[in-house]
């Protein structure tokens, strides 16, 4: 066992490993792992699941998390 995280940086074949932070086109930002997320009002929220979706459209009713609202926005207003 190596102390180094197997998914960090470049893999053995030179391929990038799995990302911890993923921008979903037109949708949220996915966060893998434990994070503290500060919302627009300065309130800090701790992630509660292995993968969390952070709202990028600004319209979610469960800020700072995504609730799928981006899908009812016109395409131009999606992130």
């Amino acid at each position: 066992m190596s102390a180094e995280r197997p998914d960090s940086g470049a893999g053995s074949g030179g391929e990038p490993g799995r990302a911890d932070v993923v921008v979903c086109p037109g949708g949220p930002l996915l966060l893998r792992g434990d994070h503290l997320v500060e919302d627009a009002e300065g309130q800090v929220h701790r992630t509660r699941r292995p993968v969390s979706a952070v709202c990028r459209c600004g319209k979610s009713s469960v800020q700072p998390w995504c609730d799928g609202t981006h899908k009812v926005l016109p395409p131009k207003l999606r992130p």
């Binding site: 979903c24 949708g27 996915l30 993968v51 799928g68 899908k71 009812v72």
Partner: protein, 317 residues
């Protein structure tokens, strides 16, 4: 759970032979779609938790598998006839994921969640919960069959999603456990399969399609497409369900089941469309159309269930 009530000559003969120690091939034509659906539901159930009045060893009995093979084939043919074949344009996982989201968003159908949010009464909602419970008490289980049939990337992504469905290791956070608590809190039965005898044909077909896809390696693309459509049509309707339950003053445990799905499924839909279905269809392009077949089937069966239930509610109004 005991074997359910028969709904015709086929299911009556089948359940009788299932309960015996020496089952025979039942060669009886289904009397109705209900008869065929409850028979197939019970045959699939042998692979989940089984029945107290059927020996566990019957799961793989050839006589029962013969009947299951026929009924499952009929169901698959019927589901495929309802679908307009679709040619996948995307090549990369990201392209296919976006295409799948667009396909799902382009589908329009009646919404039970809207009716619950604004107008359904408490008795109507309790009926709906009873019928939905057939699936919610085994939530995520049909998709678990798919795991060993995938390559590393899609497999790891599916397990990431399933782990969350199964409470991330905490039995009290398991989604079907959250459902049980919600049912108990509103005075309904939470035991496994409690309301299958009340479930309408459309609810049985939803359950049978998930088991068919999950249990058939050849249909793994459809199983995962179904998963993506299910997750991608969950967050916003779950919010409406939660608002409707609050409007009716229903127990917070039940509301909590739906609010959990608002957030969880906003994550799951991204994983399902991009990392699971997108990767699967990129790595095995021959399965691409079936991903969309599975997604369509999920949406179409929900339309049929919603149309049936809304029809009952309108007739009572």
């Amino acid at each position: 759970m005991l074997t359910p009530k028969a709904r015709g000559a086929l299911s009556a003969a089948l359940f009788e032979t299932m309960r015996s120690s020496d089952p025979r091939v039942v060669d009886v034509e289904p009397e109705s779609a209900d008869d065929a659906a409850i028979a197939l539901w019970a045959l699939f159930e042998l692979h989940y938790r089984g029945f107290d009045d059927v020996e566990d060893g019957m799961e793989w009995h050839p006589a029962l598998l013969t009947v299951r093979h026929r009924l499952a084939g009929d169901l698959e043919r019927r589901l495929r006839e309802r679908w307009a074949p679709y040619a996948v344009e995307g090549r990369t996982a990201a392209e296919i994921g976006s295409e799948l989201f667009a396909y799902i968003e382009g589908h329009d159908g009646p919404s039970l969640a809207r009716a619950v949010q604004s107008s359904a009464d408490a008795d109507q909602v309790l009926d709906l919960l009873r019928w939905r419970s057939v699936y919610h008490l085994k939530e995520a289980d049909p998709t678990a069959w798919v795991v060993p049939r995938l390559g590393a990337r899609a497999k790891a992504a599916l397990m990431e999603l399933q782990f969350d469905e199964y409470g991330n290791g905490d039995p009290e956070r398991l989604h079907h456990r959250l459902w049980e608590r919600g049912m108990e809190a509103v005075g309904l039965r939470a035991d496994y399969g409690a309301y299958v005898d009340e479930a309408p044909l459309e609810a049985l077909e939803q359950n049978n399609a998930m088991s068919l896809f999950g249990l058939s390696r050849a249909l793994r693309g459809a199983a995962l497409g179904h998963l993506a459509a299910f997750e991608a049509t969950s967050s916003l309707p779950s919010r409406r369900m939660a608002q409707g339950l609050e409007r009716l003053g229903m127990a917070p445990e039940l509301v909590a089941y739906y609010t959990e799905h608002v957030e969880a499924d906003a994550v799951h839909e991204q994983l399902a469309a991009r990392d699971i279905c997108g990767v699967l269809a990129q790595e095995e392009p021959a399965l691409g159309p079936d991903v969309f077949f599975g997604a369509f089937t999920c949406l179409d069966l929900e339309d049929r269930f919603a149309t049936h239930v809304l029809g009952l509610w309108e007739a009572a109004a």
